[in-house]
């Protein structure tokens, strides 16, 4: 009998309000923010949020994206101000894309990532992008009525399929910042072209938590090879009476710490690139394939050299080459880890590229 009373009593206690039960809220009254842009403002931060296209009723046509923005001294203040701007409850739990303005990134991204990691709705699962040469507000607004979330989702999907540049979540970037002290973030430009509103513009490099520079063009391709996620790349070669295309399908880079007399003397990188023949007029013979391999090796070597040169110039090992090499030499890594960034900037790098072309 006593046991019978216990369950209702426990339930009553839970329902008194001090139980920590979540609060109910109807989804029909919600505006689901999909994209957030954060910029540095004079006295704090400028936050912009976009819902993407919305529908009222199942058969109704899309309504324009709801764009909210607020400038406040703190992120939480700005988010609260945005709540007041909408008729609906603004729900931040679906923010999948986070755009950071260049100026804010130069000041430091840690406060933003901290806020995202602590907020119950936001979390660190959103894709992180740097907006290069413009404000994030401009980038968020560039999608107009349709918003930019579909464009950013496309870029993310293309990246997963190996077509576009590497994408990174806020969590991945934050982890790299905490573990490596640096990180790379894909950069976008709101300038756009005829086909899309946001275009890829290489990678931004964060050192500490501040933006220290960008990698463009061949250096950006080299960074992808170092990080093990090359975007789709095709080498066209004109062989004897045979035009051949080779598509790079994967790459991985292995790093090793070289020691001479017990002292760190260099870093050896071995990049293995897998490619396959995608187009040819006649099936190339062994000699032709060898020529293709050589051409591809040269091109990838140049890219890797460009990336390493730029990273050493910036003094950051944002792809974690040292940490990965340190696994094989833990004692040595423990000694050099503290001033690795300085050492990396001056360390001679021995580069080896191995290309396999699958027919």
């Amino acid at each position: 009998m006593k046991r019978g009373w216990m369950a209702p009593l426990a339930l009553s206690l839970l329902l008194t309000g001090c139980s920590g039960l979540p609060a109910a809220r109807e989804m029909g009254d919600m505006a689901l923010l999909r994209t957030m842009g954060i910029d540095a403002a004079a006295n704090g931060v400028a936050v912009t949020g976009s819902t993407g296209p919305r529908a009222k009723g199942l058969q109704a046509e899309d309504e324009p994206a709801l764009i909210l923005s607020a400038d406040r001294e703190s992120l939480s203040g700005a988010c609260l101000a945005m709540q007041g701007q909408s008729d609906s409850y603004v729900f931040f739990g679906y923010v999948d894309q986070l755009l950071l303005g260049q100026e804010l990134a130069e000041r430091g991204v840690q406060p933003v990532l901290d806020y995202f990691s602590r907020d119950a709705e936001l979390g660190l699962g959103a894709q992180l992008w740097l907006v290069r040469g413009a404000a994030a507000r401009e980038a968020v607004s560039s999608g107009g009525d349709k918003g930019v979330d579909s464009r950013l989702e496309t870029l993310q999907t293309d990246s997963d399929m190996g077509i576009a540049s590497i994408t990174r979540t806020a969590g991945e970037v934050y982890t790299d910042l905490l573990e490596l002290g640096s990180a790379f973030v894909p950069a976008l430009s709101p300038a756009g072209d005829e086909t899309a509103v946001l275009t890829e513009r290489g990678y931004g490099v964060l050192n500490g938590d501040r933006l220290v520079g960008f990698l463009d063009g061949e250096a950006a391709k080299g960074l992808e090879l170092l990080a093990g996620g090359p975007s789709a790349d095709v080498l066209e070669a004109e062989l004897a009476q045979n035009r051949v295309s080779v598509k790079v399908v994967s790459a991985s880079t292995k790093s090793e710490l070289e020691v001479q007399g017990g002292v760190l003397s260099g870093l050896k990188l071995t990049c293995r690139v897998e490619a396959r023949l995608s187009e040819y007029q006649r099936h190339p013979d062994e000699a032709a394939v060898q020529a293709l391999k050589t051409g591809l090796e040269q091109r990838e070597r140049l890219r890797l050299e460009a990336a390493l040169e730029r990273l050493q110039e910036l003094g950051t090992d944002c792809t974690g080459l040292g940490a990965r090499a340190g696994i094989a030499r833990p004692a040595l890594w423990q000694r050099v880890q503290r001033d690795w960034a300085d050492r990396f900037a001056e360390l001679p790098v021995e580069l080896q590229v191995q290309v396999t072309v699958h027919k």
Partner: protein, 502 residues
């Protein structure tokens, strides 16, 4: 007040019910005001000096048998007129009449009940004892197909209301003399024969004894419905979960006996119970052993999944949409938001009302004759559902969630178990609407606590999963192994012989 209390107090059964010695006058007194009580005076071979009286209950005794096997020999056998008076009764008992049994009775009680069961009583003038001959009618429904457990690949016979037909269906399948059948009478007014069946050497004698003890303890007016036995025999009548699995199919019943369980039949109820009941029994079908083991295993897993779906989907929908929208995939969330915008009711109200509407439509369909019932179901399900969505009274997602939960519930082979899940589905939906996933998790914990506390004839209800290491296990409950590898009877049912094949 005390008189009323005295009248309402439990009163013991009177044994024997008709006390005293037998006489024709006593019999007529017992059956006074019984229009179907009949008696016929017969002169033995036309000798008016030798008179016999045959008593029977019209409708219980079969006229042809009474006429041909009793009355005709009485009227036409010359020996009956010539045999000395002192030997006449013995002659009638030992062979002058053609019935397959004849019993001399001197007490009123057995004769009264023999007449009720279709026998006739033969009195000779000047004697108070009588001979009882079985001439009962065998009017009954013929063995048909099991409507609730249809068979695509297997036997198509099913139990009927006649107890003896049912036991014969079992005896025809299990010809071993170790199949034991013991009869009990339940019900003060109905005096319903209830048979306990088991295979000696396989079933647990303690379970048989416990079942018989509980049967004997039942003191009710009559056994008119299955619940008249179930609710008196189970360990916990408060639980909505069935503790006595039943079947209409003799092959399933026999399988239960072969597994070491104890069977139970009641006259007038066209089904058989197989005890003790563990939760896995309610997920098995008669077809499980007929299909290929891979197909049967897949279907079994589907049924278990469906039990979870029917139980949790409405509660999960409420919890996710109302309390934890961040857990819903974005595109689904956007579609829910779009659909929900023009609906005036809260999600909780919508789901609970739709669950209730679902039950109403189902109940209406069940209570009406089949052709009208299916029309009501279609009208209720499609037309009203569509109209409600079009009129923005409910959102389509709610309709889909409730429909999925409802349809998943129909995969339960046991309607009783499905009904228990439906009740708990309501409870979990209410808890989810109070505390989101926390409430739902608490509800699930309470459900597991409840199930873990149930027992059926000394066997834990969750025995297939919770017997621990001391009790030898049978075979996996979620799926079926190939039959040559199912060599063991489940230890949880305390079988005396665990091995079931070479």
């Amino acid at each position: 007040m005390s008189r009323q209390r005295e009248a309402n107090a439990p009163h013991p059964r009177q044994e024997p019910r008709i006390p005293g010695p037998l006489s024709l006058a006593r019999l007529e007194e017992v059956f006074s005001d019984c229009a179907d009580f009949s008696k016929r005076e017969v002169y033995l071979h036309g000798d008016s000096g030798r008179k016999a009286v045959v008593c029977y209950i019209d409708g219980q005794a079969r006229s042809e048998r009474l006429n041909d096997y009793v009355l005709r020999p009485l009227a036409q056998d010359p020996a009956l007129a010539t045999v000395p008076e002192s030997q006449l009764f013995d002659l009638l008992e030992k062979g002058a009449l053609y019935a397959h049994g004849a019993k001399r009775e001197t007490e009123a009680d057995p004769v009264v009940f023999a007449l009720i069961n279709g026998s006739c009583a033969l009195f000779l003038e000047g004697r108070d004892d009588c001979l009882v001959f079985p001439v009962a009618t065998e009017e009954k429904r013929s063995v048909g197909e099991p409507e609730n457990e249809p068979a695509l690949k297997g036997a198509r016979d099913s139990f009927v209301e006649s107890l003896r037909t049912n036991t014969s269906l079992i005896r025809r399948r299990l010809r071993a003399p170790e199949l034991k059948i013991r009869e009990h009478i339940v019900g003060r007014q109905s005096l319903t024969p209830v048979d306990v069946l088991w295979i000696d050497g396989i079933a647990d004698p303690d379970t048989v004894a416990l079942l018989e003890e509980r049967l004997d303890a039942i003191d009710i007016d009559g056994v008119e419905a299955a619940g008249n036995l179930e609710e008196y025999l189970v360990d916990s009548e408060r639980s909505p979960f069935p503790l006595m699995p039943y079947t209409q199919r003799p092959d399933r019943f026999c399988q239960g006996l072969l597994e070491g369980r104890v069977g139970l039949f009641a006259d007038g109820i066209p089904l058989g119970w197989v005890l003790p009941g563990t939760i896995d029994q309610f997920f098995k079908t008669g077809q499980d052993r007929a299909y290929h083991w891979l197909a049967a295993s897949a279907l079994s897993v589907v049924r278990w999944l469906c039990a979870l779906i029917t139980l949790l989907v409405p509660g999960l929908y409420i919890a996710l949409v109302t309390f934890h929208p961040e857990a819903i995939p974005p595109k689904l969330a956007l579609s829910i938001v779009a659909a929900k915008q023009e609906v005036p009711f809260s999600t909780i109200f919508e789901v609970l009302i739709m669950l209730l509407a679902f039950e109403v439509v189902q109940e209406a369909g069940l209570r009406l004759p089949t052709p009208i019932g299916s029309t009501v179901s279609i009208l209720g399900g499609l037309v009203v559902g569509n109209a409600a969505v079009d009129a923005h009274i409910v959102s389509p997602a709610v309709l889909i969630a409730v429909a999925i939960a409802g349809i998943a519930g129909y995969t339960m082979p046991s309607q009783d178990f499905g009904s228990a899940l439906r009740l708990w589905r309501f409870l979990l939906a209410i808890l989810a609407s109070l505390g989101g996933l926390t409430g739902l998790a608490l509800g699930c914990a309470a459900l597991i606590y409840h199930l873990a506390g149930l027992e059926s004839f000394g066997v834990p209800y969750l025995a297939p999963f919770t017997t621990g290491t001391r009790v030898p296990r049978g075979h996996p409950s979620l799926f079926r192994l190939p039959l040559p590898r199912m060599k063991w009877r489940d230890g949880a049912v305390k079988t005396q012989n665990r091995r079931n094949q070479r």
